[in-house]
Symmetry: C2
Subunit: 411 residues, 2 copies
């Protein structure tokens, strides 16, 4: 596909690992709903010739170009110079912009450095984009009849200026330029099993543009189709055949869905965490307003705390060991009794890398659940691939159990 | 700076938000110690002409080129074709590679698709790079005397092949090509205050190449200098003047440093969390081996649990409210008494976006600490900018208190 928006992210610090480029991710996310086609991303060094040649080259094909970074006051900040070179123009001093920068320094009671003069330089044909949060103004110009916008690289400034000015400027050119897409978010199912189910469900539907993407909570299905009606049809078929494996679309989060569900039921929850060490509570309480539904819980990393704070019988620990469905059930029951919550959810497992045995290897995790009209139940997961991943999938499984009101097998 | 490694990341899914490019980040991190200079990163669509022209253009300046993605079996996978076009060569069928792919499918008991033939195509002058974890082999060729490597985009495959083969191949060309860098990690100090201290400390040292980068735990100082001896001198000056504001270098994590410190002292810790909801426990238990030092704790989101699980007196809650230094102290004391840990650390605050009042606005957080020979103390933080950020800085402050064995003011 030709045309679309080209992103040029300028800065040595993006290439040597000092800073990660989060701006291009943010722009992709921010413009997805409006359907902007992002044609290419380049991360380039602070080099005036590289900046100018990238602008010139992309101006031949792109619908619009956004250059981010390199607008600061120091001699490394060469994006203005690069734009001027690409335009075949000179930089000129803008007294109005300079007065604005000067006023900002006065308002903040800080001395202005001579190098801030650089920030008031622009090609005369370029228009200024106001910066509501910092000193560096943005610029909007044309190269080979293609609009080129310059924004600062500081994320807060870029975002503010993108929202306030640039999105509106570029909308008529870019809205609806991308292939329409739907993102169906699933949990409780492995990627390969999911792919088989999707293939079966859509086997009569001809050529498909499908991708899978592992998320924090499970696997997302990404479905694209140039025909919005066909896309709608395909998504509906998937929703109906995958049923409650899909917990939401787009940016729904699994903790958010769980809390909405419990809020609708007027029920509360408490956590009893061993191997997840607080990660389950952190996930649930990451949602604004969670304090009405999440009472709290116990992080019982040691066996002694499982006994003293969750009333797990010492004999049960001796008989089955801490990582067992018996203990997961007792923990869920214990945290309900101690807190008065409607639902109790528990995790106990071997997160690794150490601590595994032949009977209870690294990645073995038991999740327990009890709730209204449900005697405590538990399931054992056998997860692989590292401590972080074991803890994260344990949390996803626990959240999914709360969403469904029952524990299911990971498919 | 000319030369260096150019990264070309190929795939529509990297541009439309279906997949985030994590490979370039990983390559930057992986090669930092060896000092590879990364000259440029391009994220480009599945388009044979774009791929070929990017390879040709960069072959004029780059020391080496790594192309990732587009080596799968489908008709979207055009990186092999792009390489052939840039080389002015034809793709030829490699019977040996095909036999290898066929054997893999037999071993896995899966039927081989006709399209897998594509994966055995290569320009005759290109050498095969073995793929130890998937079907797509990599390729190594030359364009305008510049080495060009093709690796799959699947992160596990890319990483395995990069480590096993490519890093060794490119090392003689790229080791030591970047400007040497040090990363000093600080916590407990605001970026602007830190910048003033750094400027004062290094004021006599002439031109500096400095950057600041906000991390999960605080602010990192990034210092570059072409002269390793001068870099060593500047880093030593900073270490001495910033003293214990610096908790480590490079990839040290604050939870890791805290646990090492407590392990050396033979002491244990327990958490009493309100506004952080488990995030502090999750941070501490993210470190392998933490179960010897972290006993566990209580997530007391509701006031009732602060009373019943942490023995916070009801009268104290009524008199001061849950978000107060009095309650933070009582929570720290309570979790020590309940768990027998040497150190108790607590958080209680208004994470927002709702729940703020004039006296106790969003971002007000009290952190409490008690420990060996230390009666319970508390400090109040006034944080800004969003629920996630308030919770994260509360955790950083709590961890820093454990590292120092005392609560300090955030500078």
């Amino acid at each position: 596909m030709s045309g679309g928006l080209v992103l040029l992210m300028v800065g040595d610090e993006l290439l040597d690992g000092r800073t990660r480029d989060t701006n291009s991710e943010w722009i992709i996310d921010r413009t997805r709903e409006a359907g902007w086609h992002i044609a290419q991303i380049e991360v380039i060094a602070d080099d005036v010739d590289l900046i100018a040649s990238a602008i010139s080259r992309h101006s031949e094909r792109a619908t619009a170009i956004l250059v981010s970074g390199g607008l600061g006051p120091t001699c490394d900040d060469l994006t203005r110079d690069g734009l001027a070179l690409a335009m075949g123009a000179e930089l000129e001093f803008d007294t109005q912009v300079f007065a604005h920068i000067e006023a900002l320094f006065v308002a903040r009671g800080r001395p202005m450095s001579g190098s801030n003069r650089r920030q008031a330089m622009r090609p005369s044909a370029a228009r200024v984009i106001d910066n509501p949060v910092g000193t560096a103004p943005g610029l909007l110009a044309e190269v080979a009849a293609t609009p080129v916008a310059l924004l600062p690289g500081v994320p807060t400034e870029l975002k503010a200026m993108f929202e306030a000015t640039l999105m509106g400027q570029f909308a008529p050119l870019l809205d609806g330029s991308a292939v329409p897409m739907r993102r169906l978010r699933t949990t409780g199912i492995a990627e390969s099993t999911l792919a088989d189910m999707v293939e079966d469900a859509l086997s009569g539907d001809g050529q498909l543009d499908l991708a899978y993407c592992v998320s924090t909570w499970g696997v997302d299905i990404l479905l694209r189709d140039p025909d919005p009606a066909r896309l709608q049809h395909l998504a509906a078929v998937l929703h109906s055949s995958l049923d409650d494996l899909v917990f939401g679309e787009r940016d729904s989060s699994l903790p958010g869905v769980v809390l909405e569900h419990l809020r609708a039921l007027g029920q509360t929850v408490a956590m009893a965490e061993s191997c997840t060490g607080g990660l389950l509570g952190a996930a649930l309480t990451s949602v604004p307003g969670s304090s009405e539904i999440v009472l709290g819980g116990v992080i019982a990393y040691s066996n002694a705390l499982k006994e003293s704070l969750l009333d797990v019988p010492a004999g049960l620990l001796e008989a089955h060991g801490a990582v067992s469905e018996e203990i997961a059930r007792a923990m869920a029951r214990g945290v309900c009794a101690r807190t008065g919550a409607d639902w109790g959810i528990s995790t106990t497992g071997v997160a690794g890398p150490g601590g595994g045995t032949k009977e209870k290897p690294v990645g073995m995790v038991c999740v327990g659940l009890c709730g209204p009209g449900l005697d405590a139940t538990a399931r054992t997961l056998r997860l692989s691939s590292g401590r972080d991943s074991v803890r994260r999938w344990s949390v996803a499984t626990a959240l999914d159990a709360l969403r469904r009101g029952r524990l299911t097998w990971l498919r």
